[in-house]
């Protein structure tokens, strides 16, 4: 027979309470800084709000329909897609090649790794502004080199040359990709490569049939994060070729989706429409990520099966 009165709390309950206490700050932050803004943006997307006037009208899904009818929005989305298709593979490839190089037993290997990685830790705003100076038509180092070689200076920061400045800016930061690939390379058992060598495999055969498959989960990670990052690209586009005075100064070659969102918010004051554009981008990113994961099922090889799949 149990005695009535105060019971000592069982250990599992205490553990649960401690758990929720520790995760509560994150949950509070998640609700305040993610769920609330998402909800507010979704509500805005159903209105014609300009952010200033008290005259706001509910318009339902008109903003979403207008996105598909607006040629400028569609072209900015297409340009963003092309940007992702070009820069993500190039970044991953450059990072992988650099990782293979700095994974060799060479003198001062640590120094090379540090120097190549250094651009990745430079703040993106600083990098974009520096590139703007480097590619300045009259005083930039790029045209200084061209002048030294006897060539005419190029107006880099306008169409059609500005996209190459952007690609250079993106590739300049491939040190981050290098570090991730390097970590993956160092996880590949040397015995496999040695065994392949003993069996007479060439370096290229070892690389393509052992290294790349074993590195595929790392490459998948870089593809997903790279695609998400490139679809959301904004600060480098605005600062390297436009100005903070307005997105209207960004050349058309760099006028990507997030620049258009910024312009709709703060130049056109179309808060509702811009919010709808952001929700559409969210849906596109989700869809693209799901497609990549689906495709990767046949192309990515895991050395250990994920839990629950056996």
């Amino acid at each position: 027979m149990e005695r009535p009165g105060r019971k000592k709390k069982p250990a599992p309950l205490r553990k649960a309470r401690t758990f929720y206490l520790f995760v509560a700050p994150w949950i509070i932050g998640f609700i305040a800084l993610t769920v609330f803004p998402l909800g507010y943006a979704f509500w805005l997307s159903l209105t014609d709000s300009d952010g200033l006037s008290p005259k706001t009208h509910f318009v339902g899904f008109d903003n979403y329909l207008e996105i598909f009818r607006d040629p400028l929005t569609m072209s900015s989305l297409a340009k963003t897609g092309v940007f992702a298709l070009v820069t993500v593979p190039l970044s991953i490839l450059a990072g992988l090649l650099l990782a293979v190089m700095v994974n060799q037993r060479i003198r001062a290997r640590g120094l090379f790794r540090a120097l190549i990685y250094l651009p990745a830790v430079v703040p993106p705003v600083g990098a974009a502004l520096t590139f703007r100076l480097i590619f300045d038509r009259d005083a930039g180092a790029a045209n200084g080199v061209l002048s030294g070689l006897g060539a005419d200076p190029i107006t880099w920061l306008v169409d059609p040359n500005v996209r190459y400045v952007l690609y250079a800016l993106v590739l300049w930061g491939c040190g981050g990709s290098m570090i991730i690939s390097l970590a993956g390379l160092q996880d590949i058992p040397r015995e496999l490569l040695e065994a392949a060598q003993v069996d007479g495999a060439s370096y290229w055969q070892s690389f393509t049939r052992i290294t790349i498959p074993l590195l595929s989960p790392v490459i998948l990670f870089q593809v997903i994060t790279g695609v998400i990052g490139s679809l959301q690209s904004f600060a480098p586009l605005l600062l390297s070729s436009g100005s903070l005075s307005g997105a209207g100064t960004v050349p058309q070659g760099n006028y990507m989706y997030m620049i258009h969102v910024f312009a709709q918010y703060f130049s056109a004051s179309r808060f509702g429409y811009a919010s709808a554009m952001l929700w559409l981008l969210f849906a596109v990113i989700l869809l693209v990520t799901l497609v990549i994961i689906k495709v990767s099922a046949k192309t990515v090889f895991y050395t250990v099966e994920p839990e629950g799949t056996r």
């Binding site: 709390k9 069982p10 309950l13 649960a16 309470r17 929720y20 949950i27 609700i31 305040a32 769920v35 609330f36 909800g39 507010y40 979704f42 509500w43 805005l44 209105t47 014609d48 709000s49 300009d50 952010g51 200033l52 006037s53 008290p54 005259k55 706001t56 009208h57 300045d136 038509r137 009259d138 005083a139 005419d152 200076p153 107006t155 920061l157 306008v158 169409d159 100005s243 903070l244 005075s245 307005g246 997105a247 209207g248 100064t249 058309q252 006028y255 312009a263 918010y265 703060f266 130049s267 056109a268 004051s269 179309r270 808060f271």
Partner: protein, 454 residues
Amino acid sequence: MTTTNAGFSRRRFLALGGVAAGGALAMGCSPASSTKAPAAGGGTGSAAKGTVTVMSQAGEFGPKEAKAASQALGVTVKTVEYDLTKLTAMLASGNPPDVVRGMGATETPYLVARQVAENLDPYFANSTLIKADDIDPVNDVWRYDGEKQGSGPRYGFAKDYSQDCTIWYNGGLYDAAKVTRPSATTPLLLDDLLEEGKRLTKRQGAKVSVYGLNPNGLGLFTQLNWLTDLAGGKLTSDDLASVDFSSPEAQRALSWYLDYAKAGIGPTVLNPDPNGWDGPTFQAGRMATTLSGYWLGGLFAGDAKAAKVAGFAPAPQFDSGRRVSPCFGATGLWIPKASKNKEAAWSVMEWFLAGDPAKARAAGGWGIPPLKSLQKLMPQKLPYQKQAFDVQMAEQEHFSVTSFTPYVRQDAINAVITRELPKAIKGTTSAGQFADALNSQINAQLADGKKRLR
């Protein structure tokens, strides 16, 4: 034996979390969260006190001015660097600064139509520093009656102004190129200005070492508006809800500008000035002529080399004989309706625009004072300052207010022009097609803006 868990279970925690999230979403759906609540300002006649936040540029109203204002007025003055994105966000959240920098000429209708700016007529009526008969007519750009700019209540006041199509020229470059310097009394004809610009331009290979002319002013739309007016037409309709770039007068304006752009004699969207504005380029002796307004002269006072060669001339005109010399800035201050301390905000505004800081600004030569009584303080010590003063005083006769639309920001209109202009400059589209593209896109923007204000 099972133990019933009467404490804080995972299910209950998740349920509470869901309620909190739903509450957050519901708050987002609440109309109150999307509109600014009118501020309960201080009552008329109450002493100004408390804290005033001023959003301006550090070079105009920075920490130094804030400290001086605090000492002079007995209020705590804080400053925030002006940024349109930040201002829009602050206004949207219902927590704006108390005093905000603005360009009266192009922003007043936009702000008033959205009921964002406070009507300052009651404050002006009680002002001891600003008298009605002392107000320069340029301040009419800060007036809007809901249909026409230039009449109705005042919503702001200029700190100083320029007539932005007047000319600064480098006399040394003119002499070197054997081009007659612009007259101080007779306006240049625009076609002559273009031809002279070509003669004044110097190149080193593909690079332009000296720009012959920069007529871009404060923005392409305002300049095209002015050029159309000079040609005898109107770019914007009377109801400010549409534009027409296809009229003969607008086509004349467009053609003149395209001729300038194709000649490669000055900055354009295809060939921007790396300096970003004309001041450094002019001081470096790399710009012969700029339509920049009186204010640019403030730059030369401390630069003996530039002061020696700088000259000021009236705004040019087409050969129609029509002279228009507008102001597209009238940069000044306004008070948001949602300001929480309007009385103190007005005291700061009045002090800055008409008190000691205004006198110091007038003497600095960075713009024409907004009060007629202060205009005698404009600098005339150096020869170029005396010459500019005389030209400017005569130019005032040709000032008139140009109405700008309340439906769309100037930024958005300029973005359309910037986007379509490269094709027209390269010749991919004709001037007519360029005009059609501008009409189509800008009128769509205006219609959308008007619909949102219904």
